[in-house]
């Protein structure tokens, strides 16, 4: 993959960066993610991918890979704090990568 792939101006990137930085926004997301989504100029494709938790589609739209991993962790959490938790498993499944060792 390539770092050149992402779109710096994609609204989803800004959404994820803001979620990382703001506990208040994370609480709002937990309460009602649609309210949070409505605050960002997201395209129909972005909204569909976010709602479907389609990380591969978000990557294809231009989400930075680092933010993709963090969004997965934000959405699915890490049951035991490990990056082999559900978040990473789903991300890898969508990349078409086999289970971790």
């Amino acid at each position: 993959m390539s770092l050149e792939h992402f779109d710096a101006l994609l609204a989803t990137n800004q959404l994820i960066m803001d979620l990382k930085r703001s506990g208040e926004l994370r609480d709002a997301w937990t309460a009602d993610q649609e309210v949070v989504l409505s605050r960002y100029p997201l395209t129909g494709s972005e909204l569909a991918a976010i709602r479907a938790r389609n990380f591969k589609a978000l990557y294809d739209l231009g989400v930075h890979q680092f933010l993709l991993a963090q969004f997965a962790r934000l959405v699915y959490g890490t049951a035991d704090g490990s990056n082999s938790g559900r978040a990473v498993e789903i991300l890898m499944e969508q990349y078409g990568v086999g289970p971790s060792s």
Partner: protein, 287 residues
Amino acid sequence: MGRVVFAGAMSHAPAATGWPERASEEERSRFYTGAEALGQELLAAKPDVLLVFANDHVLNYDLDNMPDLAIGIGDRHAGPGDWFQAWLKVPPWTLPGDPETARAVHRGLARRGVRMAVQRDDFIYDENLTVPFALMHIADSEIPTVPVLMNVSVPPVMSSERVYDIGMKLRDTIATELHPDLRVALLATGGLSHEPGGPGYLTINREFDEWALRLLSTADHATCVRELTFERMEAAGTGGTGEMLAWLLVMGAGPDRPCEVLAYEAPPAWRCGMGVVRWPVGASSDA
């Protein structure tokens, strides 16, 4: 004139404190021992200030406004950020800043053609400083600290030659523009091979890591910089391995001597090659 009294580098993968039990006891012990030794050497050097170079994980700056280098000039630095505390599983840390030295470094590098963004409020820190501070046991040291965050994952990214050159300019700044007799410790964090968030997320490129460490521990700096390119780092793990650019910057600020490898482990569940190295900066240095 100031002088470099310590130069080292270590990995900062969150697994090292967040899920250490997923490594074998032997792997974890060896890595922890290496990190502790690095911390002991830093403390024994009795630095007046610690300059720490690490990457920003797309946290403090937006993708469309990302500086190559950003220096924290505040009088206090504390971490980790809220969202990272439960993940990293270490106590919050606080270290004093050193605004005078930070401003002198900023000014000195600017005079030498290096642009740095200035961060007046504290950065938000994640594993980049938190993991090394915890494992080096320096979180309670009260050493005045100046953090410098680097961009390694938002193109265009600086080349290995450029960051090494910045390191040499930093050495000159330390020697000529900082407070006389100032004892300066330099620490780089990040690397080795990993690909956070990408298809190679579960993979460690051990072959690359061992090659890179062999290079850094045997070759002269010119060879290291020529061979350990950002492109090779990226090929070994996109978006993560490039953190080793911080290592090259710190290397450039010291004498042209190979490093000593204190530890290297690659626990599969940590998803990152984990290294600890130190560079000799003794009396024979040319700094």
